[in-house]
Symmetry: C2
DNA sequence: AAAATAGTGTCTTTCAGACAGTATTAA
DNA sequence: TTAATACTGTCTGAAAGACACTATTTT
């Protein structure tokens, strides 16, 4: 295939190429996939795209696509970084209104055979955003939807349980499961939960993030004191909400994100006594 | 380049290919790089290879190379997984005696221009092994060496300080810095330290691992009690060493790795009061 | 005998979690 | 008035860290 452009030269040069020049090998495709998470209706939801073409036509997939060596946006032509590619895919699928508050690399998946068409190595990214409207129907993102992760029947092993209606294409069930593990764990020791709320926010809103992601009720009083005791987690605005909660209660104080990158001491997840052995 | 093999067909098909077929784009090379760490002479050391060819001839690099779509080992021909490729590179560079006790994916680096020859996306792996002999001179691994990480003058920003004699090629200083961050942090909440010692081991040997990786002296008595109090971290063999320490002291009890995958409660790193802000 | 090391005991401080209690707001 | 919620106070137990101490071994 691509060998054609190379003049092998003498044997030494050929060996050099075999060791150092990838054009001597069949190509490997590089893609990015994005696990975009948000909280809607008190549920953790993930952005999925319905596939229209084989393979896996009619199945659901994480938004993603091939990394483009050339990027044309503002007129200038330059190459595209991996994180840029992830952000681009997200915007293309979910619309320009989705501004992820946080984007980080999750991991890279390159097991042979994960894409039946050819060897594909996929760099997965994890994105978090506050509650977003549905992707605009009729736009480029017509086939994108926010789906509650509980509706996907994921097992601990990163597979979907039989009988789940929305089937995930490729190894996306595994990637999503890894992403969920990562989020649940990062809530403990980073201020990541603040990426799921819009500023200013209340301590209760922050607690709802933890409860939704961890799937466990937390003690409101202890949570409140704990959050305020961690230096740099949140920062008071001095304001309060304009009204109490929908079912009563006093007005709550409002906060902004603090400047801490790590939470010390950490907010440990309850019910983890049973260790992973 | 590779466009030649594709017949563009009508416009619809061309668009399909542009979206789904990587052969419509210039190729991106996929490599694996390995950050192999061990403890020798009470120092944390990393396996580096001296580059003989441009670019960066004479500089030092992490062991690594292109992922081979086809792998020929036991006669059968099949594709090579990313982790397999990492293990293969490690064996090729350090010799077959290096058996990593632990191998995990670190991250993927694909910034345009990181390799001046072409667009290269590199999947980095992190490997840990107990103390190993030097790579055999005269073998394939003639140019590989264990180098103390302190000799590389890494700054927090993942760059080498001016005046460092051993210069790291490509963005390998950044990859190594990320790897060191990962190790230091994983010692806290996983039993990873046991990957740096040979079984059976003493609590003091385990403490030396922590002290070397963290670069801080720990309180021997408190460390001892702490390790034994974490369920599943270590498991007693019932044996003791045959002699005391080289400068006196009683014989120490010997332990094996336990079955815990996570340490609860964690072994928190001291001197971290100053948070990352 | 002296020095080094393995391992244990104990005290103080911090923190997580349970629980109670007060003030404020909506229905 | 009732129920819900925001926030604070207090107690208990777990655990980290400082320090002291004993026992065992080498020099």
């Amino acid at each position: 295939v691509a060998d054609a452009v190379i003049d092998p030269g003498d044997e030494r040069e050929r060996e050099l190429l075999a060791g150092y020049d990838p054009r001597a090998f069949p190509p490997i495709a590089v893609t990015v996939d994005v696990v975009a998470l948000t909280i809607r209706d008190a549920e953790l939801q993930v952005l999925l795209v319905r596939r229209g073409e084989p393979p896996y036509a009619g199945w659901w997939a994480l938004p993603g696509g091939f990394v483009r060596p050339q990027r044309q946006g503002d007129g200038t032509t330059r190459e595209e970084d991996l994180a840029e590619a992830a952000a681009r895919e997200l915007t293309e699928e979910a619309g320009p209104r989705l501004r992820a508050a946080h984007l980080e690399q999750l991991g890279t998946y390159g097991t042979p055979g994960r894409d039946p068409r050819m060897r594909v190595v996929s760099v997965a990214y994890l994105a978090f955003s506050p509650e977003m409207p549905d992707p605009t129907p009729g736009s480029d993102a017509a086939d994108a939807q926010w789906v509650p992760v509980t509706a996907l029947g994921l097992s601990e092993a990163g597979q979907q349980k039989p009988g789940t209606s929305r089937k995930l294409a490729f190894d996306h069930a595994r990637i999503l499961a890894d992403g969920l593990d990562r989020v649940r764990s990062k809530l403990e020791y980073t201020p990541l939960a603040t990426a799921f709320v819009t500023e200013p926010f209340t301590i209760s809103e922050l607690r709802e993030v933890y409860e939704t992601v961890w799937g466990e009720k937390l003690h409101a009083g202890n949570f409140h004191r704990k959050v305020l005791s961690v230096p740099g987690f949140v920062e008071s605005t001095g304001e309060t909400t304009q009204a109490g909660g929908p079912r009563g209660g006093p007005r709550a104080r409002l906060y902004r994100r603090g400047d801490a990158r790590l939470l010390h001491p950490a907010l440990l997840r309850p019910g983890q006594e049973e260790e992973v052995r």
